[in-house]
């Protein structure tokens, strides 16, 4: 039984030392090179922190193999990594750093943002060789329940939430995926998801678990889909675990009418509901490929249910999210009680897949990870997803929608109030309201101010929010309509401007 992802890397290295583990557009690392690079990071982190353990260590990530070496290195030192995209606005990076309380970061070849000025920066590509035995010693003290990483998601209070996940949950995920999907050492993953997005966790650790390979796809390839498909072929990619939004892009741009990938065996998608017509496009053009719908928020370590697509779907049908993995239990609850068969309830998850909680946010953690109301005899945590679901007669779970203001846009989880808070904080904005146009997939921001100034507002929003959270439409109103009780009339706004 493995206790840490360091053991996973060591085991893979024993069997596959000279095989390519992780590659990107410029470089590639064999398993032994990955181990060596991670060992350097582990030793440097250990020294810089004077041997402290359990600390948050941000990693300035790029679309490169070096980032993954930094992750393993931080983990081996007995600390946990926090992948951070240096292209995010400084304010957001500062907010995230404040949550972590970090004093040290590892840089995977990026320009260091201004918000990192007070931190010690270790450049992962410039570190001296390190003593493997010493690093093995550090790693041997890791408990499987120790935190491995913290990934930030949008928070409705305006501050991003850091989801803290253990070694155990990630190791369990790899075992579940192995059982369900039969990856092996011939599997070549085409990594689409950025490393600060937990879809990428599946690529990295399933690669290591099976001794496969992973090629990191440059983000810009999704702007030139023909080159993207050529790259998949050149790298002999046979397995995709992608955000559903990435699949939608290839379909929207009619990619497969011109070019097809030749090595694909399995395509798995998650992050948001994939429209059936997009799945049909992929199925029609890639008849030999197995498709899998995966479901689950970051708080349950990637995914808690899966549905292996076993038929075609008509355009108006919803693709089920399927059944739970074997280490997971799903409860559909309403007011703390299970719903009757066929009724809609909040999807709640139990099992070893649950995250440890939100970093340095005990109250938030207590609200989301609470005692199972159906168990009175012993402590058992469940995670309340805020997603609504229904169990269909065939035993498959169906995702119905959200119980709150969270949306999925371009594969990212976004709390609309967080956008409203950024806009409302501007002194010259009197009121604002953010709605999602699900048909056109656009975030629409209404704002009320004395004079219209879209450009000034856009500049302020760009300084505060990551690009995927920026509204796609700005609508200035002299007065945002209100309901009789004085609340912003979101229904009227939707009717007048979106429908």
């Amino acid at each position: 039984m493995l206790n840490s992802v360091w053991e996973l890397l060591k085991r893979a290295c024993e069997r596959y030392a000279d095989k390519t583990a992780i590659s990107d557009a410029q470089t590639s690392l064999t398993y032994s090179e990955l181990l060596d690079a991670a060992c350097r990071v582990a030793s440097a982190v250990h020294n810089a922190l004077d041997g402290a353990r359990g600390q948050a260590v941000p990693v300035l990530i790029g679309r490169n193999a070096l980032s993954t070496a930094a992750f393993f290195g931080v983990a081996a030192s007995g600390n946990f990594y926090v992948p951070m995209d240096p292209s995010l606005p400084d304010k957001r990076l500062s907010d995230m750093l404040a949550v972590t309380g970090a004093r040290l970061c590892v840089n995977a070849g990026q320009a260091v943002p201004a918000s990192f000025a007070g931190l010690t920066v270790l450049d992962a590509d410039l570190l001296p060789p390190a003593d493997m035995t010493a690093v093995d010693g550090m790693a041997s003290a890791i408990l499987d329940v120790d935190p491995l990483y913290c990934i930030f998601t949008s928070g409705s209070t305006g501050t991003p939430k850091g989801v803290l996940v253990s070694h155990r949950s990630v190791l369990q995920m790899t075992r579940q995926f192995s059982e369900a999907f039969g990856f092996d050492d011939t599997t070549v993953f085409g990594n689409q998801a950025p490393f600060d997005f937990d879809v990428s966790v599946k690529d990295i650790y399933n690669t290591l678990y099976h001794g496969g390979s992973m090629h990191i796809l440059d983000k810009k390839l999704f702007l030139t889909p023909k080159k993207l498909i050529e790259t998949l072929d050149e790298r002999r990619v046979n397995t995709l675990i992608w955000a559903a939004s990435a699949m939608k892009i290839l379909t929207s741009l009619k990619t497969f009418e011109s070019v097809l990938p030749h090595h694909l065996r399995q395509v798995m998608f998650s992050g948001e509901a994939l429209p059936a017509k997009v799945l049909t496009d992929w199925q029609n053009h890639l008849p030999g490929v197995r498709f899998v719908n995966l479901y689950g928020p970051t708080e349950i370590t990637c995914n808690c249910t899966y549905y292996i697509i076993d038929r075609s779907f008509s355009p108006e049908e919803h693709i089920p999210i399927g059944r739970p993995f074997s280490n997971t239990g799903i409860l559909l609850l309403r007011a703390g009680k299970p719903v009757k068969p066929g009724e809609i309830g909040e999807i709640c998850v139990r099992g070893t897949c649950l995250a440890l909680g939100y970093l340095n946010a005990p109250e938030l953690t207590e609200r989301a990870f609470c005692q199972n109301p159906l168990v009175a005899t012993h402590p058992e945590r469940i995670y309340r997803t805020g997603d609504l679901g229904r169990m269909e007669a065939d035993g498959n779970l169906r995702f119905i929608g959200r119980a709150d203001t969270q949306i999925k846009h371009m594969g990212h989880r976004i709390e609309l109030p967080e956008i409203e808070l950024s806009c409302g904080a501007l002194p010259w904005v009197d009121a604002c309201c953010c709605l999602y146009d699900g048909v056109r997939e656009r975030i629409v921001l209404f704002y009320q101010s004395k004079t219209r100034d879209d450009k000034a507002l856009i500049d302020c929003m760009k300084a505060a929010l990551p690009s995927y959270m920026l509204p796609n439409r700005y609508i200035w109103l002299e007065k945002i309509p209100e309901t009789r009780t004085g609340k912003l009339d979101r229904v009227l706004l939707r009717e007048q401007y979106i429908l």
Binding site: L223, T224, K248, L253
Partner: protein, 75 residues
Amino acid sequence: MDELLDILSECCPDIDFEVENTLIDDGILSSIDLVTIVGELNDAYDISISVDDLTSENFNSAESILDLVLRLRDE
């Protein structure tokens, strides 16, 4: 050109299309921006932009996009 700039700005209000000339090379456009732009251009100019047209040469700037639109409209 003004009409095209209006369409582009409506699709991506946070990008200054009069200035940017590395829209693809520097990843200034997101893939969802590109989908929106292609859809709007196809509708507005009654053209059909194919995946073969989606290159940095054609989409790096408003000028190169205009060249592509004019070329496809003449075909």
